[in-house]
Amino acid sequence: MQDRNHLSHVKLTHKAKVITNGLLDIPMLQLLDETGKPTKDSELPKIDQELAQKILESMHYTRLLDERMIGAQRQGRISFYLASRGEEAATVASAVALDANDMIMSQYREQGALVFRGYTTQQFMNQMFSNQEDPNKGRQMPIHYGDKALNFMTISSPLGTQIPQASGYAYGQKMAGKDAITICYFGEGAASEGDFHAGLNMAAVLNCPCIFFCRNNGYAISTPAEEQFAGDGIASRGIGYGVNTIRVDGNDVLAVYAATQIAREMALEKKCPVLIEAMTYRLSAHSTSDDPTGYRSKEEEQQWAKKDPITRFEAWMQTKGWLDEKAIEAFKDKTRADILNALKVAEKVPVCPIEDIIEDVYDTPPWHLQKQLDELKAHINKYPEHYPKTANRDKKGAN
């Protein structure tokens, strides 16, 4: 039996001194300053024009999608939307550093990562219109994407739950000998959940190759960060768990990319978790159900709008001679048109047929669900006009 001593690493002191706040200053990695100039001595990650272009397009695409869908929600075409304006660098550039085999477990504001992975406009629309083409079968509110082919785990609303799950997923990847890691995104608000604590601690103890990527965007709905925690953000907690930690400027594409690359390499090679805290700001409302004028000033928003990640990255691309403004405008126009098109297609696709209501609760529907479906179908047949979405359809869903 191994002799253990949980004291062996501890140094002694003989003066009572309370460790008060501020002991630890965790600096923030910034590679491009707010004007897009590389910061002094900074070593930029390797990136070619093509990749830079793809990153920029992904960010623009994300923002255009957000704008259009906020509009669609206002028009009553979809029930809900949640934008990521201001956080596009954090979500896109982190995804850039990943391998396609890495699993993404996101919170809900990481559409940028999904865009970069190649989720199509039509897929976005099918999900948001809960139609039968959505691979999640229209079962979730808009923005709860999920796609097995892209290794993007279906999003779940309860906050923080994906954090210990990511640890488990990563452990499974390690055990299966996969050359892949898991990245887990969450907000600084979700990091208050008990599941955060469990997930990070377990990942540290059980050596799970996982990146915990916190978007600290200053707010959880109306609750400002200072009412969420009193410590030095989320990064300082990493230290508590013995988890390798980096804090990064979340509005700096290159810094996010570099940090995530380092984290991925470390996670994969050392089979360990890495925590990244990306400092950013939620420029949009929390969601279409929210109105931020109730809890923050326009001035504050404007302060942050100046740090816009897209503008900053464009400025840098400009210095590299890589920015083709015309091409960007063309891309944006095409994207707008594509989105509108796909939207129009998606809103005409019917929802799943009624048989689907009992599917996927279990691998196969047990007797009681079958019975409930039979009763339901008989009822719908009796009152077809009251259930227009599902009445009088063949199994394929054609009305």
Binding site: S79, F80, S130, N131, K137, G138, R139, Q140, M141, H144, S156, S157, P158, L159, G160, G189, A190, S192, E193, G194, D195, A220, I221, S222, T223, E227, Q228, F229, S289, D290, G294, Y295, V351, C352, I354, D356, I357, I358, V361, H368, L369, Q372, L373, L376, H379, I380, K382, Y383, H386, Y387, K389, T390
Partner: protein, 325 residues
């Protein structure tokens, strides 16, 4: 009297209680300055200060744990859980702590002053994470009280009673009625009794039992039935735990038939407890099996919400089946 919607009635009850008793404190996610995502706690922080109405960090287990300690200390916490769907991280604090505190300490300490408020229920295109009706989970916890209002008048009176009651109360608010239900509400204080059902309408052929937002569904079904000459007695249970078995049983003695409607999935829903008790107590009076018109045994669907709902038509059909048995 003033015209209020359900949210305003709740807000009015909270203001009354905070004015009357400085030990009353209101907290939860976003309840502070912002007044809660549904605005039930509007202006409370402005009126009573940040020490008595405050945002908490985003942790339901923490909110209820904190509230339990605060209650044991003698304060009067009114904790909000933003959605009923998100109460489960606090389940341990509720089952093992809130509900057992008085018992385990031989009555030396208790969480009796605690009230937990939470919106629940579907019909708002919320899917399975913004529509659940979790009352049955809590109905199996000795030590809890569970209260559900169906309109602004009840909401204010029952919430005041819940806060004053010396037992922990889970106060569940039917969120699809938050703005839809409007009615006359006294501006002054009043209490409605916990543990008592409300007979909404008398009738002789069948008893229809529901609570919260489903009461209006059974009312609609009853209207259809009445057209066919079926006389329905409608009872709003109001309190799920302890529940008013006496009123229900007496009604069934009279009508000989019972239908229970709830939105939560059928299996293990609270209708099962009512049916089990009533078949025991009214065995010789029942002229037909007790009918349960409930949600399906699936997560709450999004695209098929309308089909899933135990709506007035399903209820009406079940009334007819029960009458024709």
């Amino acid at each position: 009297m003033a015209k209020m919607n359900l949210l305003q009635a709740i807000n009015s009850a909270l203001i009354s209680m905070m004015e009357q008793n400085e030990r009353v404190m209101v907290f939860g996610e976003d309840v502070g300055h912002f007044g809660g995502v549904f605005r039930a706690t509007s202006n409370l922080q402005q009126k009573f200060g940040k020490a008595r109405c405050f945002n908490t960090p985003l942790t339901e287990q923490g909110i209820i744990g904190f509230a339990n300690g605060l209650a044991a200390q003698g304060s009067v916490p009114v904790a909000e859980i933003q959605f009923g769907d998100y109460i489960f991280p606090a389940f341990d604090q509720i089952v093992n702590e809130t509900a057992k505190w008085r018992y385990r300490s031989g009555g030396q300490f208790s969480c009796g002053t605690l009230t937990i408020r939470t919106p629940y229920g579907g019909g708002i295109a919320g899917g399975h994470y913004h529509s659940q009706s979790p009352e049955a989970f809590f109905a199996h916890i000795p030590g809890m009280k569970i209260v559900i209002p169906r309109n602004p008048y009840q909401a204010k009176g029952l919430l005041i009673s819940s806060i004053k009651d010396d037992n922990p109360v889970l106060f569940m608010e039917p969120k699809r009625l938050y703005r839809a239900a409007v009615g006359e509400v006294p501006e002054t204080d009043y209490e409605l009794p916990l543990g008592k059902a409300d007979t909404v309408k008398e009738g002789s052929d069948i008893t229809l039992l529901a609570w919260g937002a489903q009461v209006e569904i059974v009312e609609k079904a009853a209207a259809l039935a009445e057209e066919q000459g079926i006389s329905c007695e409608i009872i709003d249970l109001q309190s799920i735990l302890p529940w008013d078995a006496e009123t229900v049983i007496n009604s069934v003695y009279k009508t000989g038939r019972l239908l229970i409607n709830h939105e939560a999935p059928l299996t293990g829903g609270f209708a099962s407890e009512i049916a089990a008790t009533v078949q025991q107590e009214c065995f010789l009076y029942l002229e037909a099996p007790i009918a349960r018109v409930c949600g399906l045994d699936t997560p709450y669907p999004l695209a098929h919400e309308k089909e899933y709902m135990p709506d007035h038509l399903k209820t009406f059909e079940a009334i007819k089946r029960t009458m024709d048995y």
